[in-house]
Amino acid sequence: MNKQDNIILKVENLSKVFAIKPEPIEALTDINLEIYAGEIFGIIGLSGAGKSTLIRCLNLLEKPTSGRVFFKGRDLSSLPKSELLELRQSMGMIFQSFNLFQQRSAIENICYPLEIAKVPREQRLARARELLELVGLPDRETATPSELSGGQQQRVAIARALATSPSVLLCDEATSALDPSTTDSILALLKQINRDLGVTIVLITHEMSVVERICDRVAVIDRSRIVEVGSVTDLFVHPQSAIARQLVFPGGELVERLTGDAALRIVFDGESSFEPVLANMVLACQAPVNILSADSKNIEGRAYGQMLIQLPDDPAAQRRIREYLNSRKITFTEEIWNDNA
């Protein structure tokens, strides 16, 4: 499958500056992205990194200061307003705070985009019922948002965003206001929608757990710039940027506060993680190591783990450990002290 031929969204040299007094804020700097049809693409960053602005540039809710956004090859910023409004019906969007119409019932909320699209009433209702079924709320038709739980409200919002059968669904921190188990069920629903309806999903989040659960590829955004783009597996195994390392392996922060000679970050690639690698290594090398932090994750059904170990001061012991890891084909990277910038 050649995904490159199938770019649904493309961002080219995009920048966004907010003209705020006294000093303008550069929210996005020279962003380039390609999002393929049918994938779940994550954009992860800390708050204030610019990810909210970026996702709003994709449907032009925010006008880029410079640069272009292409949707199915069409340059959005060159479209007249009426065509842009029509095109937004092919891009659904859901939000952290759900943003349902409070004075409309669940089914009336889902009907709204169809009213805008001038779909006749009977068809609107039929389509809305179909969607309530899809999101698992067939019996809550007449409930108003205030009568629904957060998870149920997000389900209605998803149904509403899908009403006009969009090819892209933009998710703005869609699970950040939900508790962990509700988050899981909403993510499962998004994955199901992606798989069964073929809807391309672009989501922004500050939580690595969201990315690892459902994303195919991910972009890391830091201080208004994209610092890394790649498959989720690559990001976990070989995070390139300091911010990605921090997101993947929050324990890494500890390193900054420690002093010592050398530390290694050992990456378990899903094959060796069930072996007692560390114990074997200590026995084989006859050298003690200090575990600074450890974490393992289940990504795409395979186990991945990372461990940060501090090596003994003895250079010979350090060499034995590196040789041992190499001989066992275990991926590791040297962690350099005080280099988290």
């Binding site: 449907n59 809710l61 409004l85 029509e86 095109l87 937004r88 019906q89 891009m91 659904g92 969007m93 939000f95 705070s97 943003n99 349902l100 119409f101 409070q102 004075q103 409309r104 019932s105 709204y112 985009p113 009213e115 805008i116 699209a117 108003t144 948002p145 205030s146 009568e147 919002a157 509403r160 965003a161 006009t164 933009l170």
Partner: protein, 222 residues
Amino acid sequence: MTTLELLQLLGQGLLETLYMTLISTFLSYLIGLPLGMILTVTDKKGLRPNRAINLALGFVINMLRSVPFLILAVAIIPFTRWIVGTSIGSTATIVPLVVAAAPYVARMIESSLREVDAGVIEAARSMGSSDRQVLFKVMVPEAKPSLLVGATIATTTILGYSAMAGFMAGGGLGTIAINYGYHRYNTEIMLYTVALLIIVVQVMQEAGLHLTRRLDRRRRAE
């Protein structure tokens, strides 16, 4: 004065007061509603920001609102005469009532529409709504409870203004209170009119709130 005459007098006054209040409220909304919408839409954070229109309209509204009602009513007597042909009686009073209340209504509409959650408006825009659809299909319906509370307050305020107009022979309960209570020292009749005014305000207030509660689809946590 017999009891029957008294009842007739008060009944007539009550009808005139209701007539002035309701017609004035209606006309104030006819003018104030679009003005309030223009204020909201042209606001810096509105759908179509327009500083010039917003500032000019805001200035006129603030000016009218800062003139005390009785002074405004006297000042625009020529205008009232030009419209109704006279400056006394309940129909003539409707003119200054509307001039005073329309700007007030515009501000209330503006504040109600402004309360609509920006996220909800953004969601509507993400679905391809035009500015007009955002205003009429989202903002106005979403602001409905607040608009109804505003209408209740506006109606009772206009009722109060209409009673003030009694000082210039504006008709209704206000005129009765002034004529009997103030000019003829007949405290009894004045108290009756005050009691009637209190009852009317209470009824309107309760009816307005009841309607708001019935039409608001948000359920409060119980």
